[in-house]
Symmetry: C2
Subunit: 213 residues, 2 copies
DNA sequence: CCTTACCTACCTACCGGTAAGTATATTCGC
DNA sequence: GCGAATATACTTACCGGTAGGTAGGTAAGG
């Protein structure tokens, strides 16, 4: 990270450098074990600069979370306009979510540790909202697929949890063992096991290849 | 927590009180955001007592992890002597693991946050070993079930991840939303969706009720 | 002149860990 | 059996360092 020239004009990249430095630090140590001093040093500025731009240590954390939520919201928004069979649409969204996660591993690791783990002094923010939105989206597709004769489902929530579990397990393997991580093809096969479990007779037709973007 | 009488004979319960206090604090705030001072105050002793018994802050954390690993090892050991169809055995172990987790939520929450999240200054310890042992166990049962004609599996790992995903998603819901947590029956049904996805024709016989202990 | 962006120096509080000591129980040597 | 030595379990007071945050100031741009 380059240190800006002393007393030069305002540095347009400070905010971004602080964010990058913060997520790197939070990912390596967790929120509570990261000091503001370390974050600003890596960004090449002084401590009050962080307070100037983000208000507090928690402020910069919230900015990172907001960034992540916005990206996820966009994905969901696009997915609500997608077309195809229920299965295809779910597979497509799962593939895109998995891609997004793979591109944002440090952020995902930090977010998950706050959502499923101890709070460490920061609130969960909007995490509940996006989790529930995702669950609702999947459930809606399952209901549509059942109504269209694609699935035979006794209880929608069961199928939803089985599907989300498949996506989560792939994500978590990426978090704890990047060397053993599943590929997109792997994920689609694991999700495919779940789909096989809910497929109706007509839904058991030979499986299409999952569409990629 | 009762404070021991001043200058009384050695207190036999100090170690346990410290452990209970530590897991409570780690669960509420995470490892790094918990201070030794807070842990010992809640246990009704002074700081050097923790260092006397456990050597360091990390020492008491490791003692907690060891406890958890031991419990899990016992479960796996017992499960390797269980009998029944592959599916029954997997369902039984999953039910017992889920029960153990439900009885140890604070510990599970802390362990997961270290395993899947940023390290926070403590090593992962034996977590890899138990995760891999569990995966191996499930995989073995799947192979047995396939060889016995119970399952029709293209790739064992896919089915394993789908099953473990189902167990994990139930566990994680417990961690982040105890108010919405799945019951044992819920879990068995979610796992059942996965089993439906790998069942062979004969394996599609009407499902037995999962045995409870 | 005002606003924006940043700096140096500092604040209070607290961190993990330790030194030196005390109290009690047990063991050892006589 | 008795006193000294040792082991165990705990205390008060302290160490050096650092945590998040702030006061007061300067420089550049509009």
């Amino acid at each position: 990270m380059n240190k800006p020239p002393e007393k030069a004009p305002p540095d347009p990249g400070v905010r971004e450098r602080l964010l990058a430095s913060a997520i790197d630090c939070f990912d390596r140590k967790g929120y509570a074990a990261c000091s503001v001093r370390e974050i600003v040093e890596a960004a090449g500025v002084t401590k009050p600069v962080l307070y100037y731009h983000y208000g507090s240590k928690e402020g910069i954390f919230n900015a990172l979370m907001r960034q992540a939520m916005d990206q996820f919201d966009e994905l969901l928004e696009r997915a609500s306009h997608s077309e195809g069979s229920a299965r295809d649409r779910i597979e497509k969204l799962f593939g895109e979510v998995f891609d997004l996660f793979k591109r944002s591993i440090p952020l995902v690791r930090v977010m998950n540790s706050i959502y499923y783990g101890p709070p460490q002094g920061v609130p969960r923010g909007d995490a509940d909202r996006v989790h529930f939105a995702f669950q609702e989206w999947v459930k809606k597709r399952l209901v549509e697929g059942r109504n269209a004769g694609e699935f035979k489902i006794a209880k929608t929530e069961d199928a939803m949890w089985a599907l989300i579990g498949a996506l989560n397990v792939a994500t978590e393997l990426e978090l704890c063992h990047p060397d053993l991580a599943l590929t997109q093809k792997d994920l689609q096969r694991v999700v495919g096991v779940v789909f096989d479990g809910i497929a109706s007779e007509e839904g058991r037709a030979p499986r299409r290849a999952a569409k990629r973007r």
